[in-house]
Amino acid sequence: MKKTIYMDNAATSHPKPKSVVRAVAEAIDKGAGNPGRGFHRQGMAATRIIFQAREEIAQFLGLPHPERLVFTGGATQGLNLALKGLLRPGDRVAISRLEHNAVIRPLETLKKTATLVEYAPCLDNATPDPAKIPDVKMLVTTAASNVTGAVADIGALAEACRRKGPLLVVDAAQAAGSIPMPAAGGVSVFVAPGHKGLLGPQGVGLAWFAPGVEPDPLVEGGTGSASEEPLTPGFWPDRHEAGTMNTPGVAGLLAGVRYIAARGVESIREHETTLCAMLLEALGNHPRISLYPPHDAGRRASLVCFNIMGMDSAGVANILDQNQVAVRAGLHCSPEAHRRMGTFPGGAVRVSPGPFTTKKEIRLFISILFKAIAG
């Protein structure tokens, strides 16, 4: 059986570094206990894994006050915490035109309790315009679109929001670990999944809140602390980590971050940009393939969406799957981005190289795709 060319890293990264696999296995196999719940060796081992991960990952991402970084089940849970925990009836929130359903759907629910949702004035790439920050309580933006690949200027937005007042909530699902983000610590809320660019396992993510940004907890219960109190403690990170944590997942995430730190985000970015440039050039020269802006690989995340004239996107993905190429077709949980791109409701085929994708695999993918088009 041929080896699969995995080109769906925007959905979840694969393969993972061997160190990630080992870290997850060791956390399970060596009996990590319940973090913060017992002083025996296993409990302490788990507690130290969580502590070390929080410290190192916050430092890696440039987020001060590591205790304000909470581990979640993924970016979706972190975004729900930010939106449902911070917005109140009557609050106005502005979003970009590129948001994922992890933002859209919680906001649709909040609309029922009188939260007012609007689109922020945007730049040509549909990310919010730092020069036109609306008068709202919160501005939510993806750091990089999972459909168009457009990259938001988080530094400029953070600065503009500081001046104008709104909280800036950043969904870094397609950026964390893949695109250098020196301004991450200047935002109000930073959310990322563990299993994409950060190369950890699925089922773990993180949400960081700047000092003074105090969401209500999304989930309440045992924290291993202040057990005599009936209410959820007010201190971080316990306030937002009720219930037993995903210690193997966090251990794997830490290993992923250590891998990236050793290799360098800039190095990964350069590698993936090179691969995307190869894709854009080859696909852009085919008469039956439609590509969507931005066309400069250096201005987009590591993904390329395309359609083939006369072919359904899901059909293309199926043909590629039969040829051991993994891509994702459809709307990618981001219907508004596809409307903006002119590909709603049919969607598009998305190919997303990762840190372990090779140039040879890109060439092979192009060859298989062109053969499929030729029928």
Binding site: P35, G36, F39, T47, I50, E67, G224, S225, P233, F235
Partner: protein
């Protein structure tokens, strides 16, 4: 007679481990320990340290922007009592 060891109690495990790291970097001898029964406050985990180091530990915590822990030592009857952060 006073115990030569005091227990520093923080609000949670994150603060305890952060303090452990920071105090060791500051040259203090500390170790994590299960909080003795009889001390009701705070986290189940504690840091034990020589009583003479309590004042410096409190000072280092304050300098690091951490909330000062509560210190407990045994009184003359063997019961745990809270002592001031200056270790006296």
């Amino acid at each position: 007679m006073d115990s030569p060891v005091v227990y520093a109690i923080f609000e949670n495990t994150h603060s305890t481990l952060r303090a452990e790291k920071m105090l060791r970097q500051g040259g203090l001898t500390v170790r994590t320990a299960m909080k003795p029964s009889g001390i009701g406050a705070g986290c189940q985990m504690a840091l034990s340290l020589p009583r003479v180091s309590a004042s410096l530990a409190a000072s280092l915590c304050r300098d690091a922007g951490m909330r000062t822990p509560r210190f407990f030592a045994k009184d003359k009857d063997g019961a745990w009592e809270e002592i001031p952060g200056d270790g006296e």
